[in-house]
């Protein structure tokens, strides 16, 4: 399966550390927050790769580092055979035409001083794609595409609801006809009934425009709904990566299993039937991750080896990657 598909993005051993400094006058480097600590994966053209994990697991940082909004500490990001890490500012900016981002907070990510029209035409101007009448037409087309009335073009963001603002954010991301759209928790600040509207819109746009999505969210059921493949992150590392059905039917990593069992199911009969794995404790600090496997401190089946050796992400079945020493036990 993996061999036939065209790879759009290739992430190799990507690391992003944020330095911790102490001292106001002469800051000293006293450690690192290992937000992303060596992740490797591919995104195939036309697919939706879901990236799930709990708060602070580094999923947003992965998205931003792929776009080089954060410069990676180490590792490579190939986008259509170009290594983004080798590019300079100007080249990078040019490349970003093909990769765009939809942000989590539709309130903070739109400038309150700009009208919808200017928000959507700015990318067209910056990249010298359209001017004058052509630009106006393109803005109108974009608004239609995301289901907003083109007459709203002179309104300001505060005149819109959260769901409508997120549509503006989506239109802005699509203004330059990108190949890859990184959706960073695009629905988590919206109400349930509006979430479904936005997700349906994202699915329609993908069909219509052949987009590739990296869909980052903490809501496991929503990620499973929209994704073709899913990657589960924990404390800066990918724990498991496989197809949407395989990860639900045969999760091989104890963390994935616990995560799945913690998701509430909106069905009183089903939820009484389920066996729950309740994890003890909290996520350790990424500034001081545990020795060995990152999950070993909370893992219900951790053994001595887990505290010593860091497990590599291995392909256990075709297309099914797991980072656990004892994943074979669940096969």
């Amino acid at each position: 399966m993996a061999g036939e598909k065209e790879i759009l993005v290739q992430v190799k051993n990507l690391k992003k550390y944020f330095p911790i400094q102490r001292g106001m006058v002469f800051p000293r480097h006293i450690g690192d927050i290992k937000a992303v600590d060596g992740v490797t994966f591919n995104i195939f053209k036309g697919e939706t790769l879901g990236l799930v994990g709990e708060t602070g697991c580094g999923k947003t940082t992965v998205g931003r580092t792929i776009l080089h909004l954060y410069l990676p500490t180490d590792g490579d990001v190939f986008f259509k055979d170009t290594n983004l890490c080798d590019l300079g500012e100007a080249e990078l900016r040019h490349r970003r035409r093909d990769m765009q981002m939809i942000f989590q907070d539709p309130y903070a990510s739109l400038s309150p001083r700009m009208t919808v029209g200017s928000i959507l035409s700015t990318p067209l101007e910056v990249h010298r794609i359209a001017r004058g009448k052509e630009k106006t037409e393109r803005v109108e087309e974009l608004l239609n595409l995301v289901g907003l009335n083109p007459q709203f073009v002179n309104r300001y963001p505060h005149e819109f609801s959260g769901g409508q603002r997120q549509r503006i954010g989506i239109a802005r991301a699509l203004a330059l006809n990108p190949d890859l759209v990184i959706c960073d928790e695009p629905i988590s600040s919206l109400d349930v009934s509006i979430q479904a509207q936005v997700v349906n819109l994202l699915e329609e746009l993908q069909d219509k425009l052949g987009l590739t999505y990296l869909f980052i969210a903490h809501d496991l059921s929503m990620v499973r709904h929209i994704s073709d493949r899913m990657a589960v992150m924990y404390l800066g590392k990918i724990m498991e990566l496989t197809g949407r059905d395989e990860i639900y039917l045969n999760p091989l990593h104890p963390y994935t299993q616990a995560l799945m069992s913690a998701v509430p199911v909106p069905d009183p009969d089903a939820s009484k039937m389920r066996k729950r794995v309740i994890l003890e404790g909290d996520i350790p600090s990424p500034a001081n991750p545990p020795k060995g496997c990152n999950f070993s401190t909370r893992c219900p089946v951790a053994r001595e080896r887990c505290q010593q050796e860091t497990p590599e992400l291995r392909e256990l079945k075709p297309g099914h990657y797991v980072a656990c020493h004892f994943a074979e036990d669940y096969l």
């Binding site: 709990e54 708060t55 609801s161 769901g163 409508q164 109400d191 349930v192 009934s193 509006i194 979430q195 479904a196 509207q197 997700v199 349906n200 903490h218 496991l220 059921s221 929503m222 499973r224 709904h225 949407r244 059905d245 639900y248 616990a258 995560l259 799945m260 069992s261 913690a262 998701v263 509430p264 199911v265 909106p266 069905d267 009183p268 009969d269 089903a270 939820s271 009484k272 729950r276 309740i278 994890l279 909290d282 996520i283």
Partner: protein
């Protein structure tokens, strides 16, 4: 089981610069001892305001409880003076809030904040209160509880803070615990811990719990009865199985259809509810959900539907078309 709480025609409004916000528009229901009630609805449906009205915690001005009665153990809470009300809050009815970071005071230790209620309501001295606070923290599963009493809220993680809030809420053995979105700010694995904890404590102490949330998944596991709210009204209420399996109101159907299920088949399409949440500044004529409802008829735009029984025990719905809709949906 006997009735613990009875609410009759509660109305709460806010008088703001932009106009009158009709936050709660006449809700009535009863809650039994030891019952778990789920109050479900999207933001701005009045679920939190209705709970704050029960506790008489609505800031006045701009808010005002305009009408209604809240009967709790033989007294109408809305007629009590502030002094008596204070003796009920925290002691008989306790509340835990959504965001444990903003509802704990950052400049006092966690222990001090738990001890405060014990000293005030149970007349304990410092030593007794300290010991009891330690027990409470241990009960909600915080390791080395006695030592952690001296910690400040920022030294606790999100899940631990919510546990501390629960310990505080339970400190005086309340008969009713109102939990206002207690797990919304938490990750799923931590949410599962908290849900399990509340369930265990409820069994142990036999209190009633009102669980306010927008998450239909969480209450499916916890609740006995569910109130579905929209635009400050209860639009459907029933036993948990009836709400999920014999859904009658088009809004509830829409909410359930908007949720992806972890066990869904590939290619399932979400049934989004079209349109926008209601504007509470405008008092609706007719059914508040009518503008977004795909089943609406002329009557829905003109007349406010009344709650009527669906034939299932205790299952009521406010919709002119429910019979046809429920039939089609089954």
């Amino acid at each position: 089981m006997s009735v613990l709480l009875e609410i009759r025609d509660l109305k709460t409004r806010f008088y703001t610069e932009d106009g009158v916000v009709h936050a709660v528009n006449g809700i009535s229901y009863t809650m039994n001892e030891e019952e778990t009630l789920g109050v479900v609805g999207e933001s701005g449906c009045g679920k939190s305001v209705h709970a704050l009205s029960i506790m008489r915690l609505i800031p006045d001005p701009p808010g005002k409880i305009e009408n209604g009665e809240v009967w709790f153990s033989g007294r109408d809470l809305l007629t009590l003076d502030e002094h008596t009300m204070r003796s009920i809050r925290g002691a008989d009815i306790a509340m835990i809030f959504q965001d444990p970071m903003t509802s704990l005071n950052p400049v006092y230790t966690v222990g001090f904040q738990i001890m405060e209620a014990l000293k005030l309501h149970q007349g304990m001295d410092d030593n007794q209160a300290q010991e009891r606070a330690g027990e409470l923290l241990a009960m909600v599963g915080i390791p080395e509880a006695q030592q952690r009493l001296d910690d400040y809220p920022h030294q606790f993680s999100g899940g631990m803070r919510q546990r501390a809030m629960i310990a505080m809420g339970l400190s005086c053995n309340p008969r009713l615990l109102i939990a206002d979105e207690p797990t919304t700010a938490l990750d799923v694995t931590i949410q599962a811990q908290i849900v399990e904890l509340v369930r265990r404590l409820q069994e142990k102490f036999g209190m009633a719990v009102m669980w306010i949330t927008h998450d239909l998944g969480v209450v499916a596991e916890l609740a006995d009865t569910i109130n579905v709210m929209y635009a400050g009204m209860i639009i459907e209420r029933g036993k948990v199985r009836d709400i999920y399996k014999r859904t009658a109101h088009p809004y509830t159907i829409g909410l359930l259809g908007s949720l992806p299920r972890l066990d869904e088949e590939p290619g399932t399409k979400l049934m989004a509810i079209p349109g926008l949440p209601p504007d509470l500044l405008k008092k609706p004529v007719g059914c508040p959900f009518a503008p977004r409802c795909i089943y609406r008829v002329q009557q829905c735009l003109e007349e406010l539907p009344v709650l009527e029984n669906t034939g299932d025990k205790d299952h009521i719905v406010a919709c002119w078309q429910w019979e046809e809709i429920a039939e089609r949906n089954r």
